[in-house]
Symmetry: C2
Subunit: 221 residues, 2 copies
């Protein structure tokens, strides 16, 4: 069951996404839409990504949260431009919110914008924001069965980051079963096991991202 | 920002919720709506709750998932009636879905229905299903800052289960900060630290629930 309004709402969103996309193309900016559950480690992974790539690319972050600005503060502390969007209850970001955030960024001085979406494995899946790629994070404590329960997000993601692998021994996470489920839903998605806090595996993930930025390839839409 | 349609949609939902509520009252059934992020441990906590209370109350479970029936299978393996609702993409349960599930349960033979909502800290918050109480689970790996980012769900919950406390030493979880944030948002909510897998703390939580069932008190709406 879907809301009846979704079609016109999504059409409007897509038209505004195309405007965002035109701005990104005009300035040669690669844009990543980062999706995950609450607490999967989006901000930590973005911080680890910034650490690896800040000498090669000029980066900014757009932070989407229902409330608070704790995430954008963490980014700004690293000297990286960050814009906080508070959705005031809405469960996902939409193109018009991104358009407003772009107004306050100096697009001429950027190569990469990372959008941290609201923590939610469901709703952000349907909203194209003009990005080059959606990438999702699943964390080990969430369990290996999540692709079965939330298939949509695994299908729209160009890459899947498996975070908190340093806690693999604490949780009963069956990586083989997880990979098999993902392979069925989205055989083209690369899986990057990482620990954003220890840095393990971050190099392979950022290498993938750097390749995409440099070739400017549009991996979604 | 909220969808413009939310008001009529919520009104319709509330009317159907009142019908569900009338059915529950007629049969003297206490109904719990269980909310959490994906992977916070909803099914494990429900299983631990069943284990403690099955000799005192006749229990059934309604499982809400976007896809799959793995959760209802786990419940049925314990000899407990379970109905699986697949929302087919929708990010929350609505009253009309619950009404359909009630059609296949023997309401005369039940004291307690536990509804496991879709894993989502945002959308289920707005939907009254006719339940006596919403209870949320936050798991330690998600982090102590979640009340700041997802205030709504902490405000509507009559009790808050803090799950996976056996992993407290692995994660940088500040329980004092967590309790302070919850106290600001919802000073009346009791917090139950538990480990659904080891059973730690489950007795206090189920004692709270058993009291509510026996007094039949309506703790929300």
């Amino acid at each position: 069951m879907k809301l009846d309004v979704s079609k016109p709402l999504l059409d409007l969103n897509d038209r505004l996404a195309a405007k965002n996309r035109a701005l990104f193309d005009e300035h040669g900016i690669f844009v990543l839409d980062m999706l995950a559950s609450p607490g999967a480690g989006k901000t930590s992974t973005i911080l680890a990504t910034i650490k690896q790539l800040r000498d090669r690319f000029r980066i900014a972050v757009i932070e989407g949260d229902i409330a608070s600005d704790v995430d954008s503060q963490r980014i700004k502390e690293q000297g990286i431009p960050a814009v906080q969007i508070n959705t005031g209850g809405a469960c996902h970001l939409e193109s018009k919110m991104i358009a407003k955030a772009l107004d306050v960024l100096d697009l001429c001085a950027l190569d990469l914008i990372i959008i941290e979406n609201v923590g939610n494995l469901v709703c952000p899946t349907d909203f194209y924001l003009g990005e080059d790629a959606k990438v999702m994070i699943l964390s080990v404590p969430e369990g290996h069965d999540k692709p079965l329960k939330y298939p949509g997000i695994f299908q729209v993601s160009s890459a899947i980051i498996l975070n908190k692998i340093d806690t693999m021994t604490v949780f009963d996470f069956d990586e083989r079963a997880f990979r098999a489920s993902v392979a069925q839903l989205n055989p083209r998605a690369t899986i990057f096991p990482v620990s954003a806090t220890t840095g393990q595996g971050i190099d392979l993930w950022t290498q993938w991202l750097a390749n995409r930025i440099e070739t400017g390839s549009k991996v979604t839409k």
